[in-house]
Symmetry: C2
Subunit: 225 residues, 2 copies
DNA sequence: CCGACTTTGTGCATCGGTTCACAAAGGGAT
DNA sequence: ATCCCTTTGTGAACCGATGCACAAAGTCGG
């Protein structure tokens, strides 16, 4: 007899992991509206995916649905949260308090569940000492100390491109293994470190590509050589 | 006899399109450092990808390399720019001038090549009329007029989640078919419209998942049921 | 002019992810 | 208690992307 409703396979596909937060958000919305139970079809629509994909994704976590009924919203929220590691809270440090860093520090929604901005760090003496979003901006010289003291495990890089790699090296040396990088550079890191990149410029360029296609159409003659 | 060095196949894989901006950035850096020619191996390292993948990607644009030598940096910059549609310039409107919108408006690097922030729009009478990054903030009532007048073809949504879908519907009705969405909602749009999403919260959750894995390790016993 | 060397471009095997379609499982009505 | 209806969970086919490995193509030195 195999134990039921237990995470079966600890190897969850990357594509699935990337969608779990989407499901979670949709489920939170439903919970707030007092919906107790949801079918894969409805949840899929709310998350903007195909229902078969949703079911397969959820099946990687375990068998949490009831055939003929659907999924219990509260229970599924809990299971996904646990799988994503949101039942604990994560101390995040933002390095680089320019326009973007400031926006991130103030962006409440982003720190909604499970995450807490625990430190702001910058190199500019002009901003060090300022209070932003209720936090004191500390000097970059204190980087390692701050990471240790506050138990930071995720670092958000919002520095200029030129500074990113150096800061990255230092936070890794300080023991951080998860980095969210906003600087437009390819960071070089050991395999044991996870880097995710958010690059506004790249997103725009991808849009431009498709926009050009649409505009030019199949008969765009103006590009003869 | 097939015409040489001509874009052969107009169907470039999506995964390739997403990497072209990366190559372009690396190439710009090289051009600035006066490098005239680069091998697929060197460019691949600079862009952080596998060299075979890079060659396959470039081969989708045409045969722009020289065997035994490599690629001409300037020429490749031009070809990729043209393919991405960066030889024309795109008027971008930012809707929602909160912390994030402001940061985007000021973020010079993001508007570097091919893109120009042509308008800022917000609903809050408090900020309408302000000048940010040299631009006057216009009222949301003017949205359609502004889009038409300035020839905006790409819209960046930096509104609160609750407002995003409504604004999205309006810009689409005004003829926009490319949207970069920062609001944490799944936008529903016709197939003819391209939406790219940047979601800080989701990125953090993905990092947390992997971080938890590392921390817990293969023998994490504390989760017995 | 030739031969050795470098580097591209690509055929092919492989892999991960998506989608379809359906059998298995459970709920509710009679 | 039985049957029908709904919805899950998944086997299997399919599709796109990746990476290897090598032949073709071109350069450069002698």
């Amino acid at each position: 007899m195999k134990s039921p409703s237990q995470p079966r396979d600890r190897g969850i596909p990357e594509a699935t992991v990337a969608r779990l937060p989407l499901y979670l958000r949709a489920l939170h919305g439903m919970a707030e509206r007092g919906i107790a139970t949801v079918s894969s079809e409805d949840l899929a629509v709310a998350a903007g995916v195909n229902s078969a994909k949703l079911r397969k994704d959820l099946s990687h976590l375990g068998s949490y649905g009831t055939r003929g009924v659907g999924y219990d919203v509260e229970y599924l929220v809990y299971q996904i949260s646990r799988e994503l590691g949101l039942t604990q809270d994560w101390a995040v440090a933002i390095v680089g308090v320019g326009n973007l860093g400031r926006a991130l520090a103030n962006y409440g929604g982003f720190v909604s569940r499970g995450f807490r901005v625990a430190a702001l760090v910058d190199a500019d003496p002009e901003v060090v000492g300022d209070t932003i979003a209720g936090l004191n901006v500390e000097h970059i010289d204190e980087l390692e100390a701050v990471i240790g003291r506050r138990g930071v495990s995720i670092v958000v890089l919002a520095t200029p491109a030129a500074a990113a790699q150096a800061v990255c090296d230092r936070v890794i040396a300080a023991g951080v293994t998860s980095i969210l990088n906003f600087a437009p550079v390819v960071l070089s890191v050991p395999d044991s470190v996870d880097v995710r990149k958010v690059d506004l410029s790249i997103e725009l360029q991808i849009l431009a590509f498709h926009e050009q296609r649409k505009a030019g159409g199949p008969l765009m003659a103006m590009d003869g050589q």
